[in-house]
Symmetry: C2
Subunit: 190 residues, 2 copies
DNA sequence: CCTACCGATCGGTAGG
DNA sequence: CCTACCGATCGGTAGG
């Protein structure tokens, strides 16, 4: 595999992220993708094995980036409050760096083939576990206040995931500030 | 059209809501739907005109229910705080009454055909305008505190829309309580 | 990387 | 409501 081929595959991957995020994985066709990168439909297959493979690569790359991010945060010596703020920033960084991939990761993962779907769900479960642990530790230290851990966790995670969709229209710093305010006020003393 | 036909159409609509919410509109097939209601694929067309029509009916019914709800709330004499609480309840009521339709309304509207898509977006814009007005009025009365109106509004609306997905696993009262706490704390004095 | 093409599946129709 | 069927479109392959 030459470096030409690698670079063309990256172009196709980026186009696929764009296409899948806009039309959804199922409505997107190889013919759409081919015309986006200036190839005939069949020529796409010189660079990829299947349409499914594109979805797998997009979803898994993103999932691994979140895992790496949360592993770094979890292992550092910081207050729970700072860890939560770092998590907010992790989501925003990915959303602003890979706006299209983040949408595919968030909305289209359910169309992964069975094996990769299972893998994906395992990663998500691990991510959620580490995220929850930060919340619970904060609660035990008397820094965060909440009942209904699962609901609280899901509200926070959903709020962070939401940013993928509306990201381009807002200034990143304003969004970070507002999200921090929202989430940290939420966890404040009643 | 007999009452038999109406009732069968309702069965098909419910099945379509279920199917579309689980597989997504594009991946769902008329053959799936037919087997869910115990008919041959072609027999579906004795009750509906097209697959698209099912999506239109599901999305528009839901959209109209939101419009009706917010119109009632807006026209009543209540504090901004009570109006916001009524909006939270509106979203929860719809989410718990029509869990499948709410998901289709929230995730699949973008596959509406052009004319209905435009209509849908107009309704959404009108809804958002009324929702924002309640927030802004509360701010002007010194009840709510926030900057970045658009971001704040989008965070709140997204949080309410999120409930569609995880609804069945939580007790409605617990969820309402937590959401109210989340949103009203968010808007509290800094 | 293209031309040519294929089997599978889709939404939907004809006719009864 | 069914049997039979169709044109369109899809993901993907053969061969060069």
């Amino acid at each position: 595999m030459t470096s030409e081929a690698l670079s063309k595959k990256q172009i196709i991957l980026h186009a696929a992220a764009d296409l899948f995020s806009k039309k959804g994985y199922n409505a997107a066709t190889i013919r759409d993708l081919a015309s986006m990168v200036g190839l005939e439909p069949s020529s796409i297959y010189s660079h990829i094995r299947s349409k499914e493979d594109l979805l797998i690569e997009l979803c898994m790359t993103c999932a691994n980036q979140f895992m790496e991010g949360i592993n770094n945060i979890s292992s550092e010596e910081m207050s729970s409050r700072k860890k939560l703020k770092a998590l907010i920033l992790l989501h925003l960084d990915i959303a602003y760096l890979y706006p299209a991939s983040a949408i595919v990761f968030n909305d289209e993962w359910r169309f992964l083939p069975p094996q990769e779907l299972q893998e994906f769900l395992h990663l998500r479960k691990a991510y959620e576990k580490k995220f929850k642990k930060i919340l619970i530790t904060g609660k035990e230290e008397g820094k965060f206040f909440f009942d209904h851990t699962d609901i609280v966790f899901n509200i926070i995670l959903n709020t962070l995931n939401y940013t993928y969709k509306g990201v381009k229209q807002y200034d990143k710093n304003e969004l970070e500030e507002t999200l921090s305010h929202f989430i940290l006020n939420f966890l404040n003393k009643p």
